[in-house]
Amino acid sequence: MCALRSEEMILNVGPQHPSTHGVFRLVVTIDGEQIVDADPVVGYLHRGTEKLAEDLQYVQIIPYTDRLDYVASMLNNYALCHTVEYALDLEVPARAEYLRIIVMELQRVASHLLFLGTYLLDLGAMSPFLYAFQEREQIIMLFNEICGARLTYNYMRVGGVQWDAPPGWIEKVRDFTAQMQKKVPMYHQLVTGNEIFLNRVRGIGVISQEDGIAYAMSGINLRSTGFNWDLRKNRPYSIYDQFEWAVPVGKNGDCFDRYFIHLQEIEQSLNIVAQAVERVPDGPIIGKVPKLVRVPAGEYYRGIEGARGELGVYLVSDGKDKPYRLKLRRPSFVNLQILRKLLIGQSMANLIAILGAVDIVLGEVDA
């Protein structure tokens, strides 16, 4: 209804705005409280990672990947290493694979916790943010112990990992996993059952399955539409096929589904970690890798299930020690494209709910 055509107003949400979680700018045209048009402006954080990579040895690229999705660095590390290993057809020692699985799934938990916290903060609830950060802090401390960094881990190497687990670390992870598994219901009590929260996210920002596929979405955004697509299952890599776990899938494709799948994935990831810590084998943590990695000439693509969707690395090599071209498929960037479609016709309040639930990380979007 808009009996009276009020004047449209152009409002800049971002780059300096609390709810864009970074330097994201959304130029919305509003009519009263209703969004008539939304134009995402990206690039405030662009560093030219892909171009820089062309001038770097493979090992040097790894620290750069840390800075893509900076809340899920481990997964980024892995994507690159995995691609290079694939290109080299390299065997990775079992212990290294287990350590990788453990840190990757812990990383996924940490990333999802961060999503939960910030999403609820966007929706006006303060406490879950702090609770989520308490849990995340424990994971970060675990990472800190294993690789010496809290955010930009630079942990993986082509053919394995850089560090072995310090003494007692595996036990710590085991304890944490058990403790965290008990914590998850608290979130359901605090958040999932809250009618106010439900009213805000149910049926909001609905992505249809067709749209999800058409926009090449992936990850939770795609799974929330009911499309069962998880690369860990669908195109297995690493040793995921050795664990018992399920892929949570939504029904409606709305913000609630996206929120809820995040929580369920935390549970599933913890599940994987719990299985993995029981079976970590002994052995080397890095395979037989030449001192200077030279990828045979050719084109290689590997995609892994990142925290936000399919994180793909497309590598073109001319046989030198540096890639000829490195293209990164950043899930946040791809998922972001649907934003305009989701936002048009919504109210300003829904903007926040939708933007938050699409869950973008600007480091990844801008690369």
Partner: protein, 163 residues
């Protein structure tokens, strides 16, 4: 309706829980051994092989050395620009002599950018902590590492990587 009350119960229950806040300047997180803080450079050990400068993804290390009378290269200058250093640990990884190390120190705030440009002198003196000199620090570290190696051996784990 009950969802709201459940939530109220959760928050109320949290009131009595242990607080996680650390009084930061007074209390600090005990950074783990592997923590990748600000570098420490030990000129005595440096053979001026330039590997660290080459591996550095951001080219923040610059060094120069002169050939000594005994044909050995001696380090003259060793600067790290912390404006662009990403503390990735690669330089430490490649250093054949462990002349460059990373310390648990992470505080690097300064009022001007220039101050972030650290020279050999500063890097050498970085993070001596309670130790009076570098030698003492080295000895302590060696002791710690031996300890760890023993512990690792006790766990039946090969010390891996570059350790």
């Amino acid at each position: 309706m009950f969802g709201i009350f459940k939530g109220l119960g959760v928050t109320f229950g949290q009131m009595t829980k242990k607080k996680v806040t650390l009084q930061y300047p007074d209390v600090r997180i005990n950074m783990p051994e592997r923590y990748r803080g600000i570098h420490q450079f030990i000129p005595e050990l440096c053979i001026v092989c330039n590997q660290c400068a080459r591996i550095c993804p951001t080219d923040c290390i610059s060094l120069s050395g002169t050939r000594n009378e005994d044909k050995k290269l001696r380090i003259d200058t060793y600067d790290i620009n912390f404006e662009i250093c990403i503390l990735c640990d690669l330089c430490v990884e490649v250093c054949p002599t462990e002349a460059i190390l990373m310390t648990p120190r992470f505080e690097l705030a300064s009022y001007t950018r220039d101050e972030l440009y650290k020279d050999m002198e500063w890097l050498y003196g970085n993070h001596l902590g309670e130790f009076g000199s570098h030698e003492q620090a080295m000895a302590a570290q060696a002791a710690r590492e031996a300890e760890h190696a023993a512990a690792a051996a006790a766990n039946g784990v090969e010390p891996g990587g570059d350790s």
